[in-house]
């Protein structure tokens, strides 16, 4: 750690991992509810478990992004953080607000929560992923503004690099597009239209900038490849991401009441969305192959390479599978979507956050890298989680293909719930893959506590 204020990243990373554990617990519960419908009913019905599962994911990734930023920006800007105190204050506000929101989901009926939190003043609740009560949404905006103020001020007084500018663009975009969560038109088509401006333009727009910047930062550090080369790649990747991803929003506009030209625009642009992810994979492998130093943190290199590959598979390939309008006509809102969602979020965003944690955490704990045993443990966690996620995706894909066939293609289409019974075998297998994922997560947690000869910091 080069600047003492980078240490504010630590609580963010710890909170991220903690919420990650929560997300997986609810994921397992839901996986079981798929096949044992009344499990935990009526205490935690499926819709609540799903809301907690997805909201925890988003919140912990945001914690991860913020931690990554607090770690990365001082080092890139070559100056201390503008206000470490503000960063810590925002951490506690965000954590408490997040925890209170989740408890609200779990403890009171959603409609009561809506009444309690002023949804009648400005109705913003009830939309998938944006279920947060109005006060939480306002809290998110306040935390985001304070965070951006802190980061922008730090950058203004220090060195401005391509990596930090791209990261900042991504973060500002994240905050700006979130404002559409306050816009909730009564017309259902318009509602969905703008809803995607938060959801899609986050994950297939500005988050890609954040991801590319974090990956570029870690790759510079662990490979020692010239900054100029990495920056050139970064330019190409973010341009490709924006060119394809912005209008690629159109692939969500099929069959929901929007004009039919979206079928063309959505199909064409989103068919190209795998390209930036492919570029990211080539980028990661190329930089590692051309490395000029052997960084002692082998685990971080593995996470970085994993990010490239899994993001391309999950976001790129599995996205392409069902993105063309004629295909999506059949697959819209089926388990194929769930398969894509799981691997894309894991491959792109979970892995990039775990990459920066893997790189930064040992430094924050005062060493260049963890000892051999801890790293081996961490790599086991990587493989367990990654392989089980591949299986989760494959089982859901199989379930999805069967579902689409039985429910929508066959000459004698079956009703939804009858089809769900038919494909329950795949849900069972998905659940077991999820159990392995949880084992991987436990291994990951354990890797932080494995003692051993850590690699000392060498100040060059």
């Amino acid at each position: 750690m080069k600047y003492s204020s980078q240490s504010v990243a630590m609580p963010y990373f710890i909170a991220a991992i903690g919420l990650f554990v929560g997300q997986i617990i609810f994921g397992l519960a839901m996986g079981l509810q798929y096949v044992v419908g009344d499990f935990l009913f009526p205490e935690i019905p499926f819709n609540v478990a799903r809301m907690v599962h997805t909201n925890l994911l988003i919140v912990w990734l945001l914690f991860g992004f913020m931690g990554a930023t607090y770690f990365l920006i001082p080092e890139e800007a070559e100056t201390e953080l503008y206000s470490p105190k503000l960063a810590l204050l925002m951490f506690w506000i965000f954590l408490i607000a997040g925890a209170a929101t989740i408890l609200g989901y779990l403890l009171v009926p959603y409609s009561t929560l809506a009444e309690m939190t002023g949804n009648n003043i400005l109705a913003t609740m009830g939309r998938e992923f944006l279920e947060q009560p109005l006060i939480t949404k306002i809290g998110i905006v306040i935390v985001a503004l304070a965070f951006l103020f802190n980061i922008t001020m730090t950058m203004l007084k220090g060195r401005k690099t391509v990596i930090s500018i791209v990261l900042l663009m991504g973060l500002w975009g994240l905050a700006i597009f979130f404002l559409f969560s306050f816009y909730n038109p009564g017309n259902l088509v318009k509602d969905k239209f703008y809803w995607w401006w938060v959801v899609h333009l986050w994950v297939e727009g500005v988050w890609e900038l954040i991801m590319a910047a974090i990956l570029a930062f870690v790759l510079i550090k662990v490979t020692g490849v010239d900054r100029e080369v990495i920056e050139k790649w970064l330019y190409v990747i973010i341009t490709l991401a924006l060119v394809t991803g912005l209008i690629g929003t159109g692939h969500h506009y099929f069959w929901i009441g929007t004009p039919s030209y979206w079928q063309w625009l959505g199909s064409i642009f989103s068919a190209l969305e795998p390209i930036p992810f492919f570029a990211m994979t080539v980028f990661a492998f190329n930089m590692v192959n051309r490395r000029r130093r052997e960084h002692p943190n082998k685990a971080a290199v593995l996470w970085a390479l994993g990010t490239g590959v899994m993001a391309f598979l999950g976001a790129g390939v599995w996205g392409f599978l069902h993105t063309l309008a004629p295909v999506n006509y059949y697959t819209h809102g089926s388990q194929i979507t769930a398969a894509h969602g799981h691997m894309a979020f894991y491959g792109a965003y979970v892995l990039v956050v775990l990459t920066i944690i893997s790189y930064a955490m040992p430094l924050l704990r005062g060493r260049a890298a963890n000892g051999e045993r801890a790293q081996v443990c961490e790599m086991w966690a990587f493989w367990l989680m990654t392989i089980s996620m591949v299986f989760i995706t494959l089982f859901l894909t199989a379930a999805g293909i069967l579902q689409v066939w039985l429910q929508r293609v066959s000459d004698t289409p079956m009703p939804f719930m009858a089809v769900q019974d038919q494909i329950s075998l795949f849900y069972w297998m998905r659940l077991w893959a999820g159990v392995v994922f949880a084992a991987g997560l436990v291994t990951y947690l354990a890797s932080f506590f494995v003692k051993g000869d850590s690699k000392p910091l060498i100040h060059a």
């Binding site: 010239d226 341009t239 060119v243 080539v282």
Partner: protein, 206 residues
């Protein structure tokens, strides 16, 4: 792909290395070529989609194609080709060590590109007045999206040309330092190339 990727990591001293074998040197920065290929892929995907849509509805496409302003299209083709020629002359001038003269050529190229924008705006105004919109027909959707997507590329190209003009005036480009001007020129030629396919495909071929 692999070779591209490998060259991209070599230090930016590419032009100097390449001066040993001028015939095989890649003009401009490798990143721009990667970008150009991606752009061509995007337009290529559009052209293929256009072909499919047209094959399903030849009559509608032929009929509405006749309503397009081919003269404006032809004028724009001449403008872009001339502009590309000027940019070629600019690169040649810079390579001959006449960096400042390159600026004049680039200004000429910029003027032609700006002319394209003006002609296109007149064309769009007439079409919008005639009730053409993204939803009025599949042909109109392709016409508007393809030409507008290209239009935006012309605008970006003009920004790049303006930067090159500024650089050339400051004498930034010389025989040993061609990377910047070649990179910008390559992008501009791509804009031209796409139009050379787009114009016959959408305006002329039946």
């Amino acid at each position: 792909m692999n070779t591209c990727a490998q060259t991209l990591v070599s230090p930016p001293a590419l032009p100097a290395v390449a001066s040993d074998s001028p015939a095989r040197r890649l003009p401009g920065d490798l990143a721009i070529w990667f970008f150009i290929l991606a752009e061509l892929l995007a337009f290529g995907a559009f052209f293929i989609a256009y072909a499919f849509a047209r094959a399903n509805n030849v009559e509608l496409f032929n009929e509405q194609q006749l309503a397009l302003d081919r003269n404006a299209g032809a004028l724009n083709t001449i403008l872009l080709l001339t502009s590309s020629y000027f940019v070629v002359r600019a690169v040649q001038a810079a390579e001959a060590g006449q960096g400042r003269r390159a600026a004049t050529w680039i200004a000429g190229g910029f003027a032609c590109g700006a002319g394209f924008i003006v002609v296109k705006l007149f064309e769009y105004t007439a079409k919008f007045a005639a009730g053409v919109s993204l939803s009025s027909s599949t042909f109109h959707m392709f016409y508007l999206v393809l030409t507008f997507f290209h239009f935006m590329h012309v605008i970006l190209g003009l920004v790049i040309l303006a930067a090159l003009w500024n650089g050339a005036r400051k004498g930034r480009y010389s025989p040993g330092n061609m990377n910047g001007i070649e990179t910008g020129a390559a992008y501009w030629h791509m804009v031209d190339l796409v139009w050379l396919i787009l114009f016959p495909l959408v305006y002329v071929m039946r």
